[in-house]
Assembly symmetry: C2
DNA sequence: TTTTAAAGGAAAACCGGTTTACAAGCTGGG
DNA sequence: CCCAGCTTGTAAACCGGTTTTCCTTTAAAA
């Protein structure tokens, strides 16, 4: 491998001079600069970012932790947003794995892993509100950190999220506008801010609009079709049935399938309203709330860069929008 | 940040001794070892992998290039396979972005980026057979490299892929077994080994079984529903129509939708056979060929580790299997 | 021509580790 | 009691960059 020493020797200058040329620093005669640049090009030299990181304490890498593997496509799209913004700024993205932790002679947590790898900042996604103490190290450190969909803040920590409360409110208002007064909700996994916020929006709006609130109409479960099936199986046995069902897309699709399999029609017998706008929803004509997953990733990266540059630490909450398709009807 | 010097000073030993303790090297009295370990734990010290990389020339990072963003879910699942294997071995994964390249004062290619970042190896995925010269640098370097779905080999380069030829053969034999003699194929994007191999298997088997080969029944396009729509629009206008359609899942689903929209029934009027087994296929009851995407990632990582350790360089070709659902019928 | 300031470049220290060479201390055999 | 040989630990060099300090040129001003 060609190093800065090779270049210095060949160009008959000191390595300090080569360094100045590489970094476009002043204090080098134009003639010398050109000469050094020629040698660099001729030998196809590229400085080692490892060595550079060591001396500057800046690595141009951002770490990502993403342990939970629910909901593949979701994080994938967030990731694309992250990558596009950070890439433009010259950062690469280090996917931090934690498989080895258990075997290690000294267990280490998020913070230690970040320090060990020398990342300039870290994005945390896919974490629920369980075991929050896991994050203590990070929050108390000065490592710039951005959480996606988890509202944690600290000296150098902030978060981004979609406006899930408002999204749920939009959904309920829309259903109410169609004449629905009995609306069920199938919540996502308990402990996740996402799911909690959506439920909050649901409750709040039910109250504001004076709709019927019935605890029996509130279900909860994993983010899967199963959960929709289970809830529908209970709903159809009820004497006092809701007329509309509000649930996250994957669950909503499970519900639609279950309803159809039981001889009900959507939206004739039940209206179904989703949340997320996953691609699959298109194939079911699912009316839903769209959240901008790419935008979430972009916002996360930009916020992280702002934290790194000490420019801004304010959480970012992204707007959502209602997408009208064919699974809700007015009654 | 706590460094090895701090630990050495506090423990009243030399940094060499601390280093030996960290790496479990011999030549340290048990008593000293324990003492140093205690100090390390007390001060929550973790060695900097940046500094370590610099001196050992080994970074425990694997790079990934994945420029094309077709087919999200596919790479996501491959990635999971990669991560699970490499994570176990203590590697982290560096997503290499190339957004900054154009602006850079010296353009650099895959090889230079790898050298610059000091990765121990690199996995290339999502590349087609276009501009193969882009890879010259990598192939001629001694950087361990594994391609996914592109059959490039070099001194330290190999590849993994599913057995796409055989998969196509299975598909055609299955359709022929159901009595189909006129089978159309909608190919994926030209230039990709994946798509080429599948077409090869199709052609070969058509010949072997003495089925009708009609160039008009061969279509080609992007990996999208659109492509399926377009092909079907042509097929239904033909006088001599095929009775079965073979295409990659997303395209096949487009075809199914197009057929239905035009008043045809699947599988009554046309049998449709997919390839890939994407999740969406389930919702259409699509009969298809499954390829093990997780396994592809695992195989890629293991092969890469083998190349790094100079143990094996042989390409890996993974078997596929036929999944029977509801879109093909016997005639 | 001499004085002085500015510009250019080299030398050396540093970042946090690893590794090699060597010295000191201890043990046991003759 | 002395010396060989093993064990333990230290000092120093090194990895490939950056940055500070300082010396040497060169050009401008007096």
């Amino acid at each position: 491998m060609t190093t800065i020493n090779d270049i210095a020797r060949i160009a008959r200058v000191s390595k300090a001079t080569v360094s100045k040329v590489i970094n476009n620093y002043p204090g080098v005669k134009e003639e010398t600069r050109r000469h050094v640049l020629n040698v660099i090009k001729e030998y196809n030299y590229w400085p080692s970012s490892v060595a550079r990181s060591l001396s500057t304490n800046k690595s141009f890498t951002i770490g990502i932790f993403e342990p939970v593997r629910i909901n593949n496509f979701f994080f994938r799209e967030v990731f694309e947003g992250i990558e596009s913004v950070l890439g433009e700024e010259g950062y690469d993205i280090l996917y931090l794995t934690n498989k080895l932790w258990e075997n290690s002679w000294l267990k280490f947590s998020f913070k230690e892993k970040c320090i060990n790898r020398g990342v300039d900042g870290v994005i945390m996604m896919g974490f629920g509100r369980v075991n929050l103490s896991e994050f203590d190290g990070l929050l108390n450190s000065n490592i710039p950190t951005v959480f996606v969909d988890l509202d944690l803040v600290g000296s150098n920590t902030s978060y981004v999220t979609s406006n899930n409360v408002e999204g749920a409110e939009m959904a309920i208002r829309y259903l109410a506008g169609l004449g629905h007064k009995k609306i069920a909700m199938i919540k996502g996994p308990a402990g996740f801010k996402l799911a909690n916020d959506r439920f909050t929006g649901y409750q709040k709006t039910i109250h504001e609009l004076n709709l019927e609130y019935n605890p029996d109409w509130v279900f909860s479960g994993e983010y899967s079709m199963e959960t929709g099936y289970d809830a529908v199986n209970k709903i159809i046995k009820m004497r006092n049935r809701p007329t509309a069902i509000f649930a996250e897309d994957m669950i909503a699709i499970g519900a639609i399938r279950a309803l159809r399999e039981n001889g009900f029609s959507v939206p004739e017998d039940f209206s179904v309203m989703g949340f997320d706008n996953i691609e699959l929803g298109l194939h079911y004509g699912l009316t839903t709330i769209n959240q901008d997953r790419n935008g979430l990733g972009e916002a996360a990266s930009r916020l992280l860069l702002d934290i790194i540059n000490k420019k801004s630490f304010s959480p970012v909450i992204l707007p959502v929008e209602l997408i009208e398709r064919d699974t809700c009807r007015s009654i």
